[in-house]
């Protein structure tokens, strides 16, 4: 191994620093040479059109999908050694909800690293899982079969599972896709709460209209990094047009960029 290059202080402090990340499916790069340093304590949206590689970027960061090139560091250390500090909320559709498990069973899976094989799941483990459930407003459903949950409830259960990990960084893949309005509100509340606790959140987001409301940082992505930084600076007409290849209409843009109007704006798709 060659001498590791010196790490800048910004990278050493960042809960997630990505450098030169490329992912490709059979000679076709879906994420190309992306650099991004997540500011500590930020609530960041990853925004881009369909097929822009948003979910793939997350999966490559988490080691679910193989990286072709690039480095991923968590607080300056390689992500593989630091995965304990990273929680993941996958898309709801990624699992079979007919699986024989109750809500508490799924949430307890977030304690996987704390449980050795000779240990039984004890009352204080269950307590920790119940606390996470109550944070997402689902404590009454602890013993419900997961197949009986609505889409929004399933998403809340996944969020609760991530909460039990008490990780510094939480990565979410479209947590608002196909959930009811009340769930969306509840999830946003939890995310903002985590941010207030000083934790960092990175979230693939598809609804342009709510970016300003929910997030403080944004990464605009379309295979390559288009722009990244605080929402006020980066979420501009020029950058959005560059990300979406001019596919956004003038009306859509006008709505997105006037903060006063945001509350009344519809979906930005």
């Amino acid at each position: 191994m060659t001498q590791a290059p010196p790490i800048s202080e910004e990278v050493a402090k960042s809960p997630l620093a990505i450098h030169g990340l490329t992912v490709s499916y059979a000679h076709h790069p879906v994420v190309h040479s992306v650099d991004f340093v997540t500011p500590p304590g930020s609530l960041t949206a990853i925004v881009g059109p369909n097929g822009a590689g948003k979910s793939t970027l997350l999966k490559a960061v988490l080691g679910i999908t193989r990286r072709l090139t690039g480095e991923v560091r968590v607080f300056g250390e390689p992500v593989e050694a630091m995965s304990r500090h990273v929680a993941y909320v996958p898309q709801r559709s990624s699992v079979d909800w007919d699986f024989p498990a109750t809500v508490i069973d799924v949430v307890t899976m977030g304690l996987f690293r704390d449980l050795h094989w000779w240990q039984l799941t004890r009352r204080h483990h269950r307590q920790r899982a119940l606390e996470s459930l109550s944070r997402v407003g689902m404590e009454a459903f602890a013993d419900r079969q997961i197949g009986q949950l609505s889409g929004g409830q399933q998403q809340r259960v996944f969020l609760a599972r991530a909460l039990t990990q008490q990780a510094e960084l939480t990565i979410l893949d479209e947590p608002f896709a196909g959930v009811d309005a009340a769930t969306e509100k509840a999830i946003v509340e939890v995310l903002k709460q985590l941010k207030r606790e000083g934790r960092t959140l990175l979230c693939v987001h598809h609804d342009l209209a709510t970016v300003r409301d929910y997030f403080d940082h944004v990464l605009l992505l379309n295979v390559r990094r288009i722009a990244a930084g605080p929402v006020d600076e980066v979420f501009t007409e020029r950058n959005l047009q560059a990300t979406y290849g001019g596919r956004l209409s003038a009306v859509q843009l006008a709505r997105l960029l006037e903060p006063a109007d945001v509350a009344h704006a519809g979906s930005g798709r």
Partner: protein
């Protein structure tokens, strides 16, 4: 007959039979446990490929041992040969499904039949050889525990015990990979290795099951107990434990039955016992059973009729439905001539009140109301706390004429 079976059931039919029974029960438990995980990973068919792929290895081992010592029957070598060719078969399935556009099921079909065909050819060759014990080989097709040596039974029991321990150690990794492999990877689980471990344990179960149930039927022991367990529980670890119990029970019943008379095949009897347990569960399971579903449907139907009838009484609407009338009469709410009784009037008032509370609740908290089961038919007192109901009642408009 029955007496012999009773002796076998109570472990009084000699040391060897008892040892075989214990070994078979451990095998059944191991098969049920690993079978549950394989089922939850949606790879049940792979055990079919594993079992059929054992035949050529088994036959080759028999030929080699036979050429060396004149008699091919030496269980450790036969099992080792079976394991080797099963591993080769698994590898072939893996390569075909990864490197080509074929799905895993197609790969399993191709590998299973090819290996089995090769094995059958080898067995025909063995029949023409001048080695002892050729007839014993067919026992590996349908299982034969009669005349099993104590050392053989011990080997099977020990391997099964090893499988059980390995599953207990790896249970959480298995569960995580079965439910959500991507999430498992973020937890530092090497999912590829966990899958491999699962298949290896399955292979051990299949191989040591060869002598007991035979290679054609061992699949049943890895599939039927888990499916039976699913009828009784909605929780993963309980399903694993139940499948172990059911597998052990099937093994116990089958192997003791087969010792009743000379020549009864062990494998088919074990599988039939497993199926009997499955059938009983399918009928009588309290959650997913056929009868429970029928009863629950009837109960629900009666409740709907009762509620509709009471509401009609409260609103002085005529009732035409015969079942509704019958239910109201049987409850003592309605006289033969169709006039509501005093308790009937009271119940109707209650139902109307309940209905209005639900309507108001649905209006105020649509989200919460939707989450409650049988929304509107469960007594609202089971869903809301007393203070919440009081608050709702305070808001109810005084007159009954609210709905259109």
């Amino acid at each position: 007959m029955m007496e012999t079976w009773w002796l076998a059931l109570t472990f009084r039919l000699g040391y060897n039979t008892s040892l075989v029974t214990v070994g078979t029960m451990l095998l059944g438990a191991g098969a049920g446990m690993i079978g549950t995980f394989v089922l939850l990973r949606k790879r049940s068919l792979i055990s079919d490929a594993v079992s059929h792929a054992t035949l050529p290895g088994l036959a080759l081992a028999f030929i080699i041992v036979g050429l060396i010592q004149g008699d091919g029957r030496w269980l450790p070598a036969l099992l080792a040969g079976a394991a080797l060719s099963a591993a080769f078969g698994l590898w072939a399935v893996q390569v075909i499904s990864e490197r080509t556009r074929l799905g895993e099921d197609a790969a399993i079909g191709a590998v299973l039949s090819t290996f089995f065909a090769f094995g059958v050819v080898l067995i025909t060759v063995i029949q023409s050889m001048s080695v002892a014990g050729q007839a014993g080989l067919t026992g590996y097709l349908v299982g034969a525990t009669a005349g099993m040596l104590a050392a053989e039974a011990q080997l099977i029991a020990l391997c099964a015990l090893g499988v059980l321990l390995a599953i207990v150690v790896m249970r959480r990794d298995f569960l995580l990979v079965c439910f959500d492999a991507d999430f498992a990877r973020t937890q530092g689980v090497a999912t590829g290795r966990v899958d491999l471990a699962m298949l290896m344990l399955l292979m051990v179960v299949v191989v040591i099951g060869l002598k007991v149930t035979g290679l054609i039927l061992i699949v049943a022991l890895t599939i039927i107990p888990p499916v039976t367990a699913r009828f009784w529980t909605d929780r993963p670890m309980r399903m694993v434990a139940l499948a172990a119990l059911l597998g052990a029970l099937a093994g116990y019943l089958g192997v003791t039955l087969s010792s009743v008379t000379e020549g009864l095949p062990t494998g088919p009897l074990i599988v039939l016992a497993a199926f009997a347990l499955f059938f009983v569960s399918m009928l009588f399971s309290s959650q997913r059973g056929v009868l429970a579903a029928l009863l629950a449907y009837q109960r629900f139907r009666r409740r709907v009729h009762l509620r509709q009838g009471l509401l009609a009484l409260a609103r002085d609407e005529p009732i035409f439905d015969n079942l509704t009338l019958k239910i109201l009469r049987r409850q003592g709410y309605l006289r033969r001539d169709g006039v509501p009784t005093l308790p009937g009037r009271a119940a109707a008032r209650d139902a109307e009140h309940e209905e209005r509370l639900w309507a108001l609740y649905r209006e105020r908290e649509p989200e919460d109301a939707l989450q409650q089961e049988h929304s509107g038919l469960t007594p609202i007192a089971e869903v809301l706390s007393p203070d919440a109901i009081m608050a709702l009642e305070a808001e109810l408009p005084p007159t009954a004429e609210v709905r259109g």
